[in-house]
């Protein structure tokens, strides 16, 4: 590593933020491993995409801002991108899982979309 040495408070802050992010990633992955059913498991990785990702990103912002001597906001690009895109595959995956569970006749809530039987006039 070249360049200037960070002050002590910055090192402690960056280390705490990155360790918190990695710890939350470990927590989310462990939840993915431990929880019993799919519909419970799908909630566990959400903490990686939200709090874990943002912790690492703010650590990066602090680190590169102090190293370059100017505000470096480029890590927030990934965090914003993740925050926008992660719900979309998750919703797709949950809908696919509900569809497959209904197809297999498992005990899941029924579809809320109304199906009008043929011959019945819809009011």
């Amino acid at each position: 590593m070249t360049g200037l040495v960070l002050p002590m408070w910055a090192e402690i802050s960056v280390a705490a933020l990155v360790l918190a992010g990695a710890g939350l990633a470990l927590l989310g992955s462990f939840g993915l491993l431990r929880l019993p059913t799919f519909f419970e498991r799908v909630h566990a990785p959400a903490i990686i995409a939200t709090l874990g990702c943002w912790c690492v990103m703010w650590g990066m912002v602090l680190f590169f801002s102090l190293r370059q001597g100017e505000l470096a906001v480029f890590p927030l690009l990934i965090a914003v991108f993740i925050a926008i895109t992660v719900p979309i595959p998750t919703i797709f995956l949950m809908r696919a899982s509900l569809f497959r569970a209904r197809q297999m006749g498992q005990d899941v809530p029924p579809s809320v979309s109304r199906v009008v039987p043929p011959g019945v006039k819809d009011s």
Partner: protein, 92 residues
């Protein structure tokens, strides 16, 4: 390297590797296909964070582009696989 970051960043990398191991077990074990897709999505996120921590260890911002690519490909791949599970086709 700085004294505090020199042990904190490899420790964070070890934690992320352990997290990826957890998702790998779920990917192999996962009883249904959607479990495996979810585990792969989670592994993309962990890999992206590991890439960013590697960039912090190296002190260069070049790992950032790789992390952005991983995030993008994770989004596209998971959406395509979820669509496949829903309909049996990716593009209709």
């Amino acid at each position: 390297m700085n004294p505090i970051l020199s042990w904190a960043l490899p420790l964070a990398l070890c934690m992320l590797a352990l997290a990826m191991l957890c998702t790998m077990i779920r990917l192999i074990k996962g009883p249904s296909a959607q479990d495996r897709v979810l585990a792969l999505d989670c592994m993309y996120l962990n890999g992206m964070l590991a890439m960013l921590v590697l960039g912090l260890i190296d002190g260069s911002s070049h790992y950032f582009e790789a992390a952005l690519l991983i995030a993008l490909l994770g989004f596209v791949g998971t959406t395509a696989m979820a669509k496949f599970l829903l309909r049996g086709e990716v593009i209709e």
